[in-house]
């Protein structure tokens, strides 16, 4: 956030922070309840990760102000996300080694 925020805009921000806080608390309870649902493991993993991603987006978007952040930071993060997924699935290559064993 840049330094030219007016008092009114900060007050608006505070309202948003409290709404996000409520949403995060509700989603935490939803995650726990969803884990007791009678669904398959893969469906459970999918649901839990979807809820966690929504919560993470709320924290990053509003508390970390990414929603109104400068492009320099957005580009740094997009590059990070690309490398993150490359690293996450890099070990998959090892599975191709084992095919003919």
């Amino acid at each position: 956030m840049s330094s030219e925020h007016s008092t009114e805009s900060i007050q608006d921000h505070i309202r948003v922070y409290l709404i996000v806080f409520g949403a995060l608390a509700v989603l935490t309870v939803v995650t726990v309840v969803a884990s007791y649902l009678d669904i398959s493991t893969s469906e459970g993993i999918f649901l839990a990760l979807i809820i966690a991603s929504i919560k993470a987006s709320l924290v990053a978007g509003y508390f970390m102000h990414l929603i109104s952040e400068k492009n320099t930071i957005i580009w740094v993060l997009m590059l990070t996300v690309v490398f993150f997924f490359v690293m996450l699935f890099l070990p998959l290559i090892s599975y191709t080694d084992q095919v003919h064993i």
Partner: protein, 199 residues
């Protein structure tokens, strides 16, 4: 010589240097935790079916749920501390930063009880693959909590008052940068909680 562009934004990036710096640091943190999440996925895929879920059932979901709510509360109070400085209300900043510190301490105390409960049942990182990655991930996360608390204490003590009195804009920016780090620590927990405790 003073570090340049820590109060006014640079024209080319549109940012103060400290904010760009913390974001690049957080990018490296994403890779650090990302590597361990990747390890978790492949260890789970290689484990006997149901092994991870069975060991995860040893953990306390109620305690972790409370800890999640505590950490979310600390994130809100951190952003409120920054907003208070923007509103030039230093006493409110002190209150909110104090609440953030308290929440961080509560998180650690609960984590301590979780760990000692495991140890008393003779469950250690060496007990299973799940417990190895559980202690690694939560331990590293706990170290990040302690790191954040050290900076929070520094800004909460009288030296914070001095910084605010002499250079309020710089102090506000410092609290914002600390907040970005703290929200990231919260963000990591948001993924750790379902992955380790609920799946």
């Amino acid at each position: 010589m003073e570090v340049p562009y820590i109060i006014k934004e640079r024209e080319d990036t549109g940012l103060i240097n400290s904010k760009l710096g913390i974001w690049i640091f957080l990018a490296s943190e994403i890779m650090l935790f990302g590597g361990l999440f990747s390890a978790y996925i492949f260890l789970r895929l290689a484990a006997p079916p149901g092994d991870f879920a069975r060991w995860a059932s040893e953990l306390s979901v109620p305690l972790a749920t409370v800890n999640t709510l505590v950490l979310i509360s600390s994130s809100v109070s951190m952003v409120m501390a920054w907003a208070s400085l923007k509103l030039k209300d230093f006493s409110k900043y002190k209150m909110y930063m104090g609440i953030t510190l308290l929440c961080a301490l509560i998180f650690l105390v609960i984590k301590y009880f979780e760990y000692t409960a495991k140890f008393s049942h003779h469950i250690y990182p060496s007990s299973s693959t799940f417990m190895a990655i559980y202690f690694t991930l939560t331990g590293l996360h706990g170290i990040h909590i302690i790191g954040g608390m050290i900076v929070m204490i520094y800004f909460w003590l009288p030296i914070g008052n001095q910084m605010w009195d002499s250079r309020p804009e710089l102090f506000t920016n410092r609290v914002e940068v600390l907040g970005l780090y703290w929200h990231f620590v919260d963000l990591v927990w948001i993924f750790l909680f379902p992955v380790l405790y609920l799946l």
